[in-house]
């Protein structure tokens, strides 16, 4: 038996973290809401109202503080206990709708709908969507496609539809939507790849679909080739083989003491790059750029103020700490200016991708492998004996064991669903 033509649904929570906050505080429905990353560094979730104000994904909080105050934006620290519990509930609902659910990230799940008759799919998806909304309060969108990449693309396009559901299993419909679907929104096309494609005049997903897979491979490694196949409805990414793709990752800290020396700043940022590498490797992800920022304290407004950031592109996506450190140090080198007392710095990336399988020359391959082994040994040592037991030399003197950088959650909402002492209150 050959079975049914493949069809996958991608369901995800709209502005998921913000929506979780709104479930327990209805007054937030009328306000723009954003949720910040660990340490309150930058915006990692935004409602459509917040996006309309121009707040960007991953934008550092210090850049938008005034904007948020002036527009009464509700700003929250990450409340992972709450988001995790709401995610669990949503996936329980998905499980009751299908036996084939793959949790892909905290707010995204792939559901195999191949066995569902084509004519029933949209109704099924609408039912799933309204049940999730009713039972958990979380609004979702659902995209359906023959491959993961097309399901993701359909999901993205569904966000603009009032129905919140889009079935893209039909090739004619695929072509219509992809004709003006920007490449930057295609799953797996990061900033570096985007630039390369744009230089060839390729702006829309439809054009990527028409590309020669070999050319795509030359431009974007094997990932590019897979994207072309996936956009043509040929599945290259199996349900369980893809690591959860995180929308972004950031390591930021406020300094215990103001930093005035370039060497200190280099050490600190190299430390963040190391942590970023650890995080990415733990989740089997990689990035093709890092954004480094540094700024002085607003609380010392009698002192000269400075706030800068710079993004460094990395030619090939990586999670190797040593490469990330190199990129981060280059950013510090460009950004550094003496005469200021810096209070905070950080490193941010977005659009995380699975790490590329090395496709370069033999020597480069060996290098990749060696780097991977060094990183694995470092991670293992740190897991076993505590963080920052083994660190790259560039970070010596940076954030070390026992130092007083601790995560700040200044604006976190109560853990409404997981703590007896923090239940929501009603009259």
């Amino acid at each position: 038996m050959t079975g049914h033509p493949p069809a996958l649904a991608l369901v995800d929570g709209n502005s998921f973290y913000c929506s979780c906050e709104r479930v327990f505080d209805a007054k937030l429905e009328r306000r723009p809401v954003i949720v910040l990353s660990n340490n309150d560094g930058c915006a990692v979730a935004r409602t459509s109202e917040a996006k309309a104000l121009g707040i960007k994904m991953g934008q550092p909080m210090f850049q938008i503080r005034d904007l948020c105050r002036d527009n009464k934006v509700a700003v929250f620290s990450s409340n992972y206990a709450l988001y995790g519990d709401m995610s669990r509930r949503m996936n329980q609902i998905y499980d009751s709708f299908s036996p084939d659910v793959e949790i892909y990230s905290i707010d995204e799940s792939f559901i195999d709908v191949s066995k569902l008759p084509v004519k029933d799919r949209t109704a099924w998806a609408s039912d799933l969507r309204s049940t999730t909304r009713q039972w958990t309060g979380i609004p979702t969108c659902i995209g359906i496609g023959p491959t993961k990449t097309l399901a993701k693309l359909a999901n993205k396009a569904a966000k603009k539809l009032p129905a919140g559901v889009l079935d893209l299993t039909d090739p004619t419909e695929q072509a219509r939507v992809m004709a003006n679907f920007p490449i930057g929104d295609v799953w797996g096309i990061g900033r570096a790849s985007q630039a390369k494609l744009l230089s060839l005049g390729i702006r829309y997903a439809g054009q990527v679909r028409e590309m020669d897979p070999k050319l795509a491979r030359q431009l974007m490694t094997v990932v590019g080739e897979k994207i072309v196949h996936e956009l043509n409805g040929i599945a290259c990414i199996a349900l369980e083989t893809v690591a959860p793709q995180r929308k972004g990752c950031a390591v930021t800290r406020s300094f215990g003491q103001r930093v005035t020396m370039k060497a200190e700043m280099e050490q600190a940022v190299a430390g963040y790059a190391t942590r970023l590498g650890e995080k990415l490797r733990r989740h089997h992800l990689a990035t093709d750029h890092v954004t480094v920022f540094m700024h002085t304290s607003k609380f010392n407004d009698d002192e000269p103020q400075r706030s800068v950031s710079l993004t460094i592109d990395i030619p090939e996506a990586t999670n190797d700490s040593l490469t990330l450190i190199k990129a981060a140090k280059r950013a510090v080198d460009r950004l550094w200016q003496s005469g200021f007392r810096y209070s905070k710095a950080g490193i941010i990336t977005q659009d995380l991708v699975p790490p590329p399988i090395p496709q370069r020359a033999l020597f480069d391959n060996l290098d990749h492998e060696r780097a991977a082994k060094v990183m694995a040994a470092m991670d293992e040592a740190n897991r076993r004996w505590g963080r920052a037991t083994v660190v790259p030399a560039a970070t010596m003197g940076g954030p070390a064991k026992g130092q007083t950088f601790s995560t700040k959650f200044e604006m976190r909402s109560p853990r409404f669903t997981t703590r007896w002492s923090e239940l929501p209150e009603t009259n």
């Binding site: 505080d25 209805a26 007054k27 429905e29 009328r30 509930r89 329980q92 609902i93 009713q134 039972w135 958990t136 309060g137 409404f416 669903t417 239940l423 929501p424 209150e425 009603t426 009259n427």
Partner: protein
């Protein structure tokens, strides 16, 4: 118990594992004591799980802490915890968690000639009315209350 696995001692001579380590094997499901088995063995059951008793749909059930006194006539007091099921549809006589102008509040839902009306359950409070243009929605249906009688 016979141990067949062999390990190498520092001198290179094989030594049976049993002489190096004390084995600690947990016993599951049966007694090693001599004598009669407990007559209760055949009747052992899991503990009563209050989650199972009280919560019909755990996926859609949330807990809220009561802070107001608008429901004291039906014995829902400040400090109580109510279980609220979002998957139940509110019916005539349901006690609901309503959102009125963004504020959560417990109310009795009554049908009056085809129209659903919200009430307080506290004779000392003035009749509850909703002003024109007020946004009202039902967050969920209250299914149980939990009250700590010691504290």
């Amino acid at each position: 118990m016979r141990i067949s696995r062999i390990v190498m001692a520092p001198g290179g001579m094989p030594v049976p594992v049993s002489s190096l380590i004390a084995l600690n094997i947990p016993l599951v499901g049966q007694s090693v004591h001599a004598g009669f088995p407990s007559p209760a063995d055949d009747f052992i059951e899991a503990m009563i799980d209050l989650n199972q008793v009280l919560i019909d749909n755990p996926t859609a059930t949330f807990m809220w802490r009561v802070v107001g006194d608008c429901m004291i006539d039906v014995k829902i007091f400040p400090g109580d915890v109510v279980l609220v099921d979002r998957s139940r549809s509110a019916k005539h006589r349901s006690i609901v968690l309503a959102i009125i102008d963004g504020e959560p509040t417990l109310k009795r839902l009554n049908r009056r000639g085809g129209v659903m009306v919200l009430h307080n359950e506290n004779a000392k409070l003035p009749t509850f009315t909703v002003a024109e243009g007020t946004e009202v929605s039902i967050w969920g249906v209250v299914t149980s209350t939990i009250r700590d009688l010691i504290k």
